[in-house]
């Protein structure tokens, strides 16, 4: 029976993958210290979140059947502290939150909710970039307009606010918990040392940050203006040609993660001045509201206020030369990937030829050839078809091989 359960519910683009990597890679070390991170695979909590919220995710949801109940049972069986972490949990409805918290706890369990948050001015372009990496084609201008539309009914606005509106997420997830059990970790400003964010997480998770090395942890690199513009244009071209599983492997992984975001050469995505002003005002309102709530703030609420605006470069109308240069990088990367896959195909073809030869040798017996003649004859002769049917019944299984 877990005595303490910490549910890290987001938000996306706040170092959540970084924390999840540390927790997943350190499961044994955590267990020695009485902390469970119950996961058979690195995306176990993601699948559980899909299941909890009945979310489809490009076909991955087929792997998520029963995943939440499976995770909750493991959490309940943990002897001391258990941690659950996935950023899409942020958008759960109150009914889904109630179900989640009820399923994770047994009598006497102390429930904690952890939300990590970063200033809105950095989150907005980061979310658009994430959308581009998930094959969307919405222009940056439309994306920004949808976010500012009060109805939240356009584009991905309902999703964005569901996972990024810090006060509302804390209200949905923490509304029934004691305030001191609701933890808000703020992401330090740009340029802060990388271990600072981990120290803040570790504080809430009850871990010694020094014990967990950060060297091997992957960091979500970001796309620049022209890289995002090229991928968005590519999305439009392949939208109806490439199924999701191929898109994930070829575009998101091979092109974006391994190439374009590994070496950003164009300007950083930012906000146009008017949108910056709107986002800054909203951030100030949130910080003011949060200061009155009495949640456990780890870091500084001032981290959620934007720094000075970056120079704005519009990704909807990128510099032509930069766009062309980035497109050439993309073409090069995908050519290399195609060559790698071609090599693999040649290897597999050789394997198949070898197997076919073995099969041919096995099929060259007189008995097998007689059977083949009977099957062929059965297509045109009732007598042969009857004989074949009788043979199959006598043999006792329904095979069409012979």
């Amino acid at each position: 029976m877990a005595r303490k359960v910490i549910v890290h519910v987001g938000a996306p683009k706040t170092g959540t993958s970084f924390v999840q990597d540390i927790l997943f890679d350190s499961r044994e070390r955590l267990a020695e210290r009485g902390t469970c991170y119950p996961a058979d695979r690195f995306d176990a909590h993601f699948l559980a979140a899909l299941d909890l919220m009945q979310l489809s995710w490009g076909g991955l949801e087929r792997e998520a059947v029963g995943a939440w109940d499976h995770l909750a049972a493991k959490v309940r069986a943990c002897p001391d502290t258990a941690i659950v972490s996935h950023e899409i949990l942020a958008t759960a409805s109150r009914a889904q939150v109630a179900r989640a918290l009820e399923s994770l706890a047994t009598a006497g369990t102390e429930l904690h909710v952890l939300l990590s948050a970063r200033d809105l001015v950095r989150q907005i372009p980061a979310e658009w970039q994430e959308n581009v990496k998930h094959r969307r084609t919405t222009s940056y201008a439309d994306f920004l307009a949808h976010l500012q539309d009060p109805s939240r009914q356009e584009g991905v606005a309902s999703w964005f606010w569901g996972v990024q509106e810090v006060p509302d997420i804390l209200d949905r997830w923490g509304g029934t918990l004691p305030r001191e059990h609701v933890h808000l970790v703020t992401v330090p400003p740009a340029g802060s040392p990388p271990h600072l964010l981990w120290e803040r997480f570790a504080h809430v998770l009850g871990l010694d940050p020094e014990e967990f090395p950060l060297d091997q942890v992957r960091r979500n690199a970001s796309l620049g203006v022209s890289e995002a513009a090229v991928v968005r244009r590519l999305n439009a071209e392949v939208a109806d040609l490439v199924p999701n599983h191929h898109y994930r492997a070829i575009v998101r992984e091979a092109l974006v993660h391994q190439n374009l975001s590994a070496e950003r050469r164009s300007a950083r995505l930012s906000l146009p001045p008017a949108v910056w002003e709107w986002a800054a005002q909203l951030s100030r309102q949130w910080v003011g509201d949060l200061a009155l709530q009495g949640f456990d703030v780890v870091g500084d609420l001032a981290d959620l206020l934007p720094a000075e605006p970056l120079p704005y470069v519009d990704p909807d109308t990128p510099d032509t030369a930069e766009f062309a240069e980035t497109a050439m990088r993309a073409l090069t990367a995908l050519t290399v990937e195609a060559a790698r896959l071609r090599d693999r195909e040649v290897e597999l073809m050789a394997d198949i030829e070898e197997l076919v030869e073995k099969l041919d040798r096995a099929h060259s017996t007189p008995v097998y050839k007689a059977k083949e003649r009977l099957v062929a004859k059965a297509g045109t002769s009732r007598l042969a078809a009857g004989g074949l049917g009788l043979y199959r019944r006598l043999r006792g299984r329904n095979s069409r091989s012979t």
Partner: protein, 409 residues
């Protein structure tokens, strides 16, 4: 939150729970009518928390606008549903699956809440949001279907006619199902060594509707316009309805004399042509519309798969869906505007290829080419899908009650 906000929040919560309780009892009042009506002092419905319930009408999370509007609409359309209060409880407590507005609050005068989804009058909600709530309920109802029961075939037994040639049907999937059932009912034999093959077709837009329905029944969540965009991007129609390709393949395998292409724009005419070739009597087949049911099912598929798994979803859909989702008003669906020119060109290519084929063609190959039909929608109407969805929820609820009582659905 200030004390004033606390008070306003408590009043709001009480009023919402009171409306939920009224809807649960069969009221069809809208939120605006209920909110603006003077509360009757002391009425239990106005103090639902005193009922001791922990459901959505008692304590616990407040139901959102979509859930409340769903119950109200169910109450309007299904006043005679058995144990309606239990269905209402289920609907009020069930979040809509997937992406959409999160916990939509209701408009309330003086509300000081500045974050969260903005309030929406339930009547003004986009129909997609209420459909989402309805699919959540459908998942809960369908996941409890008893799959151990076997459906008895409704087909009456008839002696087979062994002197007649057997038949094999390919092409338009829904028409194939309807004609096949009619031929079997007439005592004809399917398949066999001297089978005659029929490739059934009609206007390309109807073929695509049938293929879309088939894909969705098999588990896809694909929207109607996406079917067309994919076809256009690949410059070919889905192989299952590529009539010339199917016919050419059959000719290569069996010879031209055993292959017939039948083109008609309704199943009765198709049956007449097939029966004519086989020397069998032909009857009437009622045309079947499945546009709304298909659009509803494609929304339901991901959540139902998550709830029960792919295999069980398939069995639930095979066993229960035709019964609860059938019988919709005839609805035509046209080619989306962006693909119309491509569809015409593609249809013309198909018609030419059919006319050139070495097989018998019954009907005009030109029928395959889609024509512009003024007034025909180019995508399912969400309001119509919602109306049909309410019917489906009602039927699924009745079926579940019957099952719970030990009867057959």
């Amino acid at each position: 939150m200030s004390p004033e906000q606390d008070v306003a929040g408590a009043e709001y919560a009480d009023r919402v729970r009171a409306w939920a309780a009224a809807l649960r009892a069969g009221s069809t009042q809208t939120w605006r009518e209920f909110r603006d009506a003077p509360a009757s002092p002391g009425a239990l419905l106005d103090r639902p928390h005193e009922q001791g319930s922990t459901g959505p009408t008692g304590s616990g999370p407040l139901p959102g606008a979509a859930q409340l509007e769903l119950v109200r609409r169910l109450s309007v359309t299904g006043a005679d549903l058995p144990e309606f209060a239990e269905l209402a409880d289920l609907a009020l407590a069930t979040s809509g699956p997937g992406r959409g507005l999160v916990d939509v609050p209701l408009p309330w005068p003086g509300s000081a809440v500045r974050t969260g989804t903005p309030p929406v009058d339930p009547e003004a909600l986009p129909p997609d949001e209420v459909i989402r709530a309805a699919t959540g309920v459908l998942v809960r109802l369908l996941e409890s279907v008893d799959l151990t029961r076997t459906n008895r075939s409704s087909r009456s037994w008839r002696p087979r006619s062994p002197w007649r040639r057997g038949f094999t049907l390919l092409g338009a999937p829904t028409t194939v199902g309807l004609v096949r059932a009619a031929l079997l009912d007439a005592g004809l034999r399917e398949g066999g060594p001297r089978t005659t093959c029929f490739v059934l077709g009609g206007p390309l837009d109807d073929l695509m509707v049938q293929r879309w329905a088939g894909r969705v029944r098999a588990g896809a969540a694909m929207r109607w316009p996406r079917m067309w965009r994919a076809a256009q991007a690949n410059d070919r129609v889905p192989p299952a309805i590529a009539l010339p390709m199917i016919a050419a393949h059959l000719v290569a395998e069996l010879g031209a004399e055993r292959v017939h292409v039948v083109l008609a724009d309704d199943p009765t005419a198709t049956l007449a042509a097939v029966a004519g070739v086989l020397g069998a009597p032909a009857g009437e087949i009622a045309p079947r519309s499945e546009v709304l049911a298909t659009d509803l099912l494609r929304r339901l598929n991901p959540a139902l798969t998550l709830a029960v798994g792919d295999e069980a979803r398939r069995r639930v859909v095979d066993r229960v869906w035709p019964e609860i989702a059938g019988g919709e008003e005839p609805t035509s669906l046209g080619v989306p505007a962006g693909q119309f020119a491509w569809a015409v060109a593609c249809g013309e290519r198909m018609a030419e290829a059919l006319a050139r084929g070495r097989y018998a063609v019954h009907g005009d190959p030109g029928l395959v080419v889609p024509v512009s039909r003024p007034g025909v929608r180019r995508a399912p109407d969400p309001e119509a899908v919602l109306a049909h969805g309410l019917t489906v929820v009602g039927r699924a609820w009745r079926a579940g009650r019957t099952q719970a009582a030990g009867g057959r659905t």
